[in-house]
């Protein structure tokens, strides 16, 4: 830690995170995408599981179902677009 960093910290001001923290965070995000690309099978399997679960509660348009990962600057989200055709009045618990 440099003297300047030390003084800033003593004064209670925000210090930039160490560069290794930045590196780790950037890697974490980029690897989420890399790993999905390595296995498109994973997204396909997830899609099929989603269809199975949701079909217990509502009728969905399976052909129009879209699942993807979207990344913001500091997070990654699983985004599913699932058109609903009909709600079921009853459901099997």
């Amino acid at each position: 830690m440099s003297l300047l960093d030390f003084i800033t910290r003593m004064l209670g001001k925000d210090v930039d995170p160490p560069s290794k923290t930045v590196a780790k965070e950037r890697l974490r995000l980029v690897l989420v995408h890399d790993r999905v690309n390595v296995s498109p099978k994973l997204l396909q399997a997830l899609k099929e599981d989603l269809i199975r679960v949701i079909s217990d509660y509502m009728e969905i348009d399976e052909s129009a179902l879209e699942v993807s990962l979207s990344s913001e600057s500091d997070s990654v989200a699983l985004v599913a677009n699932i058109p609903v055709l009909k709600m079921k009045r009853t459901f099997r618990a």
């Binding site: 560069s19 290794k20 923290t21 780790k24 890697l27 980029v30 390595v38």
Partner: protein, 266 residues
């Protein structure tokens, strides 16, 4: 029957060839019979790192294509009992060898040697596929940089897809003083990201440059820190429990060792 281990990384320049040369030499010094195989066709380098460049007559393509027998192509390192090199071809294409030929070659080498260590080319194309085809175990070399760690992650995925489960990680060129300042990822960061077991940590060390200049692997230099780290890695490959070396008083290394190698003390 011996063991076939591929040394890979994805990214170039992280130290695959240096790691192969040093692990192989250290295993030979420990008394094992070792064959080092350079699969980087067109860009061969393991021969110069080992100081054997003047003794090449035949190469890997001569063997796989049947132009010579395996024994004719294997160069015996006169300095150590039991160390042999099968050099890559320098003037051919990667496609001069195919994965089936590599599997057959590794089968033959396993009969003669305790360890067959394969130096993999950078990249994920044909050369990589050839190098891993006959391997039973994989060592992934990385450095503490985002580019190298990212490529290592991709390689680990491809190794697992090719049924080479549980690759082991070597973190090369770590600089303890930068880690201390928070300007370099530490071992725990990389283990956390890559989710693989650690085989060893090699510090950045100028003696590597000197040893490569001379064609004498650093494991032979008792003063070299990197050499000591590679000797430890070789002993771990041979099944010994060896603690991680203390890199400038970095704390927690012993704890990590216990976790990864089941090492217990008192």
């Amino acid at each position: 029957m011996g063991e076939v281990i591929v040394i890979t990384s994805g990214k170039g320049g992280v130290g695959k060839t240096t790691t192969t040369a040093n692990i192989g030499t250290a295993l030979a010094v420990l008394g094992h019979k070792v064959a080092l195989v350079d699969t980087d066709i067109g860009l061969r380098n393991l021969d110069v790192v080992l100081g054997l460049e003047n003794r090449i007559v035949y190469d890997i393509v001569d063997v796989t294509s049947g132009h010579c027998r395996l024994k004719q192509a294997l160069i015996k390192d006169k300095r150590f009992e039991g160390l042999f090199l099968l050099p890559a071809a320098q003037t051919k294409e990667k496609t001069a060898v195919n994965p089936q030929q590599m599997i057959a070659l590794c089968q033959d080498l396993k009969k003669e040697f305790d360890y067959c260590i394969i130096d993999c080319p950078a990249g994920i194309e044909q050369g990589f596929k050839n190098a891993i085809a006959g391997a039973e175990k994989a060592v992934v070399v990385t450095t503490p940089e985002v580019s190298a760690v990212r490529d290592a992650d991709r390689i680990i995925g491809l190794l697992e897809a090719a049924e080479l489960r549980e690759p082991k990680l070597v973190v090369n060129r770590i600089r303890p003083e930068m880690v201390k300042k928070g300007d370099m990822m530490d071992i725990d960061d990389m283990i956390d990201i890559l989710a693989v077991d650690l085989l060893g940590v090699v510090p950045e060390d100028e003696t590597i440059v000197v040893s490569t200049n001379r064609g004498e692997p650093a494991v032979l230099d008792s003063e070299s820190k990197a050499g000591a780290a590679y000797r430890n890695i070789a002993r771990r490959i041979a099944g010994e429990d060896v603690p991680l070396m203390n890199l400038d008083g970095e704390e927690g290394l012993m704890e990590r060792l216990k976790r990864f190698f089941g090492f217990r003390r008192g």
